[in-house]
């Protein structure tokens, strides 16, 4: 694969994950750094939504890449690199949740500070819209925090990472039907929370 030049505006050939992994296994650290750059945001997003805490999610994300780097010699390409990385991350999240569990659910996400809210506001966004948007996120975060870990993880993998039922089943090590059950029950709980808070009206379906 021809390596392009870095720099804004120049044509750059994007190497596949497989090629970057092969180069990394051959001693090319920059290739692994490129993998980090490519996957750090999705991995952080996964950890954040599963754990619910920003700082701890960053720690988990960093540790996931560190473990992947150390285990790279043993990675034979039996699965996609991303799937392998997701599995490492989910295992770390599971370890974190076991360590920090108090009531059987993850900790309620950190609260909203007015100063933080003011910082989020767009130049022309009315304060009422900003507050409404933040309220919705608080309801979602609380609902997700109250779910069993496996239901929450299934929703995160499906809704925010676009995985198929089969891929989730492989990651969670369970049958396909179990994934669907977890997804349905989790979404039903979130839906009830959104209806109670008034963010969701019970749908009225008109027969045509």
């Amino acid at each position: 694969m021809v390596s392009g030049t870095a720099g804004a505006g120049s044509l750059r050939m994007t190497r596949s994950d497989d090629e970057l992994v092969a180069r990394s296994r051959g001693g090319d650290v920059e290739s692994f750094n490129e993998l980090i750059l490519r996957w750090e945001r999705p991995i952080f997003a996964l950890a954040f939504r599963v754990i619910g805490r920003e700082d701890d999610a960053r720690d988990v994300c960093q540790e996931a890449f560190f473990r992947a780097f150390r285990a790279l010699p043993g990675f034979k390409g039996q699965s996609k690199f991303s799937s392998w990385l997701y599995r490492i991350t989910l295992n770390l999240c599971r370890d974190w949740m076991r360590k920090h569990r108090r009531t059987g659910a993850m900790q309620i996400p950190e609260g909203v500070e007015p100063l933080e809210l003011a910082g989020e506001r767009g130049a022309s966004e009315p304060i009422e819209d900003l507050v409404a948007r933040r309220e919705l996120v608080v309801v979602i975060e609380r609902a997700m925090a109250g779910l069993p870990d496996e239901q929450r993880t299934a929703i995160v993998l499906k809704e925010y990472h676009g995985m198929t039922f089969q891929e989730i089943a492989e990651l969670q090590g369970c049958p396909l039907s179990t994934v669907k059950t977890r997804l349905y029950q989790g979404l039903a709980t979130v839906r009830r929370s959104l209806e109670r808070s008034g963010h969701l009206q019970r749908p009225v379906v008109k027969r045509t």
Partner: protein, 221 residues
């Protein structure tokens, strides 16, 4: 051939919502939804909840890690041979791999992919080193902000006392307005929290009441 879909099959509706149905099953479900208000409502509820879930986004936090094997500053790279394949003990392999935090590690979450000027040795325990760096950056930023404020004040200083008073009053008014907005936002959020808690309690009470009534009816029979 039997129908692949049974009315009320929530998991099949879920697969339909996520477009992971077999084509034959999809056609059957589509036809069923046109005549079954219950299933149509269930699907609409799932879809509506999914749309709202999209609002939950992770924070824009600083990432930008890089892997450094501790190569010399003069740029001389070690031989191309894969170093981790050598029979090194585990502690040596770990010592050879150091994670560097990007410049965007500074508080406030400014994203940056530029490498830090000083690599941090994280072999033993990186968290105190990270905290130290963050504190340093925060201190520098605070000092810079103070200097900026001082310069701004000096540049706008007026010898006319009335003009100076007007400026001071304007600053105070702006500050009061910011505080008023923050209080208003806090009050709105508190109210929203209270409403949510009340709705949750009401729902739980109704559920409990129904269960008690059910038990009493059973006892009376």
């Amino acid at each position: 051939m039997s129908s692949p879909f049974q009315c009320g099959d929530h998991e099949a509706l879920l697969a339909y919502a996520y477009d992971e149905c077999e084509p034959a099953a999809r056609d059957v479900i589509t036809a069923h939804l046109a005549t079954c208000a219950g299933c149509a409502e269930e699907l609409a509820g799932i879809s509506a909840a999914r749309r709202l879930l999209a609002a939950w986004q992770p924070p824009e936090t600083a990432l930008g890690w890089q892997l450094d094997t501790g190569q010399r500053a003069d740029g001389n790279a070690s031989a191309a041979a894969p170093w981790w394949r050598q029979p090194l003990p585990a502690w040596a392999q770990v010592a050879a791999a150091v994670l560097i935090f990007g410049a965007g590690l500074a508080a406030g979450g400014r994203a940056s992919s530029a490498p830090a000027s000083e690599p941090v040795d994280v072999v033993a325990d990186w968290q105190p080193a990270v905290a130290a760096i963050e504190n340093r950056v925060a201190a520098v930023e605070s000092a810079a902000a103070d200097h900026q404020a001082l310069l701004a004040g000096l540049s706008s200083r007026e010898t006319d006392s009335d003009a100076l008073l007007r400026q001071i009053r304007s600053e105070i008014n702006a500050s009061e307005e910011r505080v008023r907005r923050q209080v208003a936002v806090s009050l709105v959020l508190l109210k929203a929290e209270e409403n949510y808690a009340q709705q949750t309690l009401t729902s739980d009470f109704q559920q409990l009441s129904s269960q008690v009534q059910y038990i009493l009816r059973g006892a009376q029979q």
